[in-house]
């Protein structure tokens, strides 16, 4: 098993820390290089309103076929140098691995057709749903749920996936509770202790499957974690500073995939990917303004500063006047990428990056912590931590420090309610002991088994402090 230790940043020079360029580019067999100088569009699509079952599967497959045809045809027409297609499987297609495999075959079939006929280069990212939750889950690493995840990964890889990815959810129910209550210690426990440990087991398995199937283990995302905070903050349900701190803490968890052998591109909805890129040099996919089809955002432009792939997050196959929505969105992504790539070819990439950063940075702490300058500074702090727990704690404290300084320097707008929570969260953070075992004991004391069942995770306090 890989167990990489990242104790220094991949980037020391801010001028190298930019979209389209990664220190460790991912070279694919069709000649596409992710992070090798070109930002590629990554389109993500989903089914319209319909059931998925035995009976409807033929319709499901023809929906996918139609969407991929539309996308590839548009990409060819607009002369895209290459595209990435991401399929986030829907739960029934992971509960029934064969269905996920059938989807992969259909999608890859159309992609191959366009490569053969027109030379259109494309890569397929298959994102398996982490189904390890719900009433019938018996264990995280054995039994039906685990087997379905593993079998779907293997089957999709064998059926032609280029990249394997997942939005893993170990510790998520703890985190849900933490978000609702703005409980920083609980979030830290969920991410830095439970989540990181779950990632190790899960990603060791994914990396193994990838190696055996000659497929690329790409990466994870804290979608179930920081994106929950993000959406809640966006609706003014929780303070934005909580979501910003949560995002940076998530970086330590998402990074575990790379420590265990994932090589990128990291998944689009993991905005914490920018930290992963800073620390490891792995290329990342990001999403922003052109993902408004999936959710509103306060990081529409700044999210592009460091993107190696640029995504729409998700759009369902509905008709718009200009065509089916997935086709509409690949067009928008292609034009977005052209702007970034042309700027780079003209030597204006850094100015473009700084324009994108300045566009949003000031208005939301979640935007501010995506500024490449800030990312490098906080990342430098994070890598000082010796354990995942320690790193997650540092992530929180460094972010609080940055946000406070940014507000004081007039670089970031924060209203009184946000500032109040910055104090509250700092106080919460200070209450956390330095010793992981002690902290874990504390956390388990108030825990209810429906939020986190240690037995299902083979979790024990002693092994925690690794």
């Amino acid at each position: 098993m890989a167990n990489l230790q990242f104790t220094e940043l991949a980037y020391t020079d801010l001028n190298e820390f930019i979209y389209g360029q990664a220190k460790k580019p991912v070279v694919c067999s069709n000649g596409m290089v992710i992070g090798g100088g070109t930002v590629y569009p990554e389109v993500n699509l989903t089914l319209p309103t319909m059931l998925i079952d035995e009976e409807t599967m033929p319709k499901v497959l023809s929906q996918y076929e139609e969407m991929i045809h539309g996308i590839c045809s548009k990409a060819h027409e607009l002369l895209s140098p290459g595209i990435i297609i991401e399929i986030e499987l829907l739960p029934p297609c992971t509960f029934n691995p064969q269905w996920g495999i059938d989807v992969t075959k259909v999608v890859k079939g159309v992609m191959n057709e366009y490569y053969t006929k027109f030379g259109l280069k494309s890569l397929l990212r298959m994102t398996v749903v982490d189904v390890r939750e719900g009433k019938t889950l018996t264990h995280m690493y054995k039994g039906e749920h685990w087997d379905n995840v593993v079998n779907t990964f293997r089957g999709c890889a064998e059926a032609g996936a280029d990249f394997l990815a997942i939005e893993s959810i170990g510790g998520k129910h703890l985190h849900d509770e933490a978000v609702m209550n703005c409980d920083l210690p609980k979030a830290l426990f969920s991410l830095g202790v439970v989540g990181c440990r779950d990632m190790i087991t899960l990603w060791d398995e994914i990396v193994k499957i990838a190696a055996e199937t000659n497929c690329i283990p790409s990466g994870d995302t804290a979608c179930g974690f920081a994106n929950t905070s993000m959406v809640m903050a966006h609706k003014n349900f929780i303070p934005k500073v909580f979501a910003a701190i949560d995002r940076v803490m998530c970086a330590v968890r998402t990074l575990v995939a790379v420590e265990r052998g994932a090589i990128g591109p990291d998944k689009d909805c993991g905005y914490e990917g920018v930290y992963l890129k800073a620390i490891t040099g792995t290329p990342i996919s990001m999403e922003g303004r052109t993902a408004a089809c999936a959710h509103s955002s306060s990081v529409g432009n700044i999210a592009a500063c460091l993107a190696d792939c640029w995504s729409n997050e998700s759009v369902e196959n509905v008709r718009l006047l200009g065509g089916m929505a997935p086709t509409v969105y690949i067009e928008q992504l292609i034009y977005d990428c052209r702007i970034m790539n042309v700027a780079a070819s003209r030597g204006s990439a850094l100015e473009m990056r700084d324009i994108l950063a300045e566009s949003d940075r000031m208005f939301d702490p979640q935007a501010y912590i995506l500024d490449p300058r800030v990312v490098l500074r906080i990342s430098q702090e994070i890598v000082q931590g010796k354990t995942h727990f320690e790193r997650t704690k540092i992530a929180a404290s460094a972010t609080i420090k940055e946000l406070r300084a940014a507000f004081q320097d007039g670089l970031l707008q924060l209203d009184a309610k946000e500032l109040k929570y910055l104090d509250i969260l700092e106080k919460q953070l200070k209450s956390i002991p330095d010793d992981e075992a002690e902290f874990t004991k504390m956390m388990l004391k108030n825990n209810t088994i429906d939020k986190f069942d240690p037995a299902k995770y083979d979790f024990n306090i002693d092994s925690a402090a690794k």
């Binding site: 309103t49 059931l51 739960p91 939750e133 009433k135 129910h173 209550n181 409980d183 349900f237 303070p239």
Partner: protein, 211 residues
């Protein structure tokens, strides 16, 4: 007349200790237990609901207030005739079969509780049969269904159909919500209403139960 402003404020502040002190004062002053609840505790909670709606309070603060209110109610409850409390009606809420999204639905439940409705939260991945069962057991007046996936929306339809099959469709109002849901879809599947957010859900439930 007893001055409830201190008690209400303690609820709004989410200060459980203070709530308990003030409730005990009211009990000592022989205030009618139902009045303590309605004017003091729920009175404070109504302010919380209003403030949350205009973005003046965050969810964690609302939850603290709700907990403080409940701590107060626990003190009063034994004094109520038969231990029974009135409420504005019972709402059965859950995320439909095949869908594991939890938080949106929980928020709606929280806001309904703040507004004086009784809420039975069944959780996620709930089958039509489980919803029906819960309506029967809890004398539910409103069924609130959540779905976050385009591929689970149709479970809402099956659930409504099951209500019809059980002959109970006329006795229950069905409301739906979630990212892919629209008024149009609501009309299509014969729901009684659609709400775009938690505050809208509260208004919708109030309107449906009034009519």
């Amino acid at each position: 007349m007893f001055d409830f402003s201190g008690l209400s404020n303690a609820v709004i502040e989410g200060d459980s200790d203070q709530v308990q002190t003030k409730v005990n004062e009211a009990i000592s002053a022989r205030v009618d237990p139902l009045v303590i609840i309605n004017q003091g505790l729920i009175g404070g909670m109504n302010v919380v609901g209003q403030r949350f709606k205009v973005n003046d309070m965050f969810v964690p603060e609302v939850l603290m207030s709700a907990r403080a209110m409940n701590d107060g109610i626990e003190l009063v409850k034994p004094l109520l005739a038969g231990g029974e409390m009135t409420n504005r009606g019972t709402v059965i809420i859950g995320t439909v079969k095949g869908d594991l999204h939890d938080i949106g639905k929980s928020l709606v439940g929280m806001m309904l509780e703040c507004s004086g409705f009784k809420v039975v939260d069944l959780g996620v991945d709930i089958s039509p049969e489980e919803f029906i069962q819960a309506i029967k057991e809890n004398d539910g007046k409103v069924l609130a269904l959540s779905a976050l996936l385009t591929t689970t929306m149709l479970s809402m339809k099956s659930t409504i159909e099951e209500c019809v099959a059980q002959g109970m469709r006329n006795d229950i109002k069905v409301i739906i919500g979630g990212a892919p849901i629209s008024q149009e879809f609501s009309d299509q599947i014969g729901a009684d209403g659609y709400a775009g957010d938690a505050a809208a859900a509260v208004e919708l439930v109030a309107k449906l139960l009034a009519s």
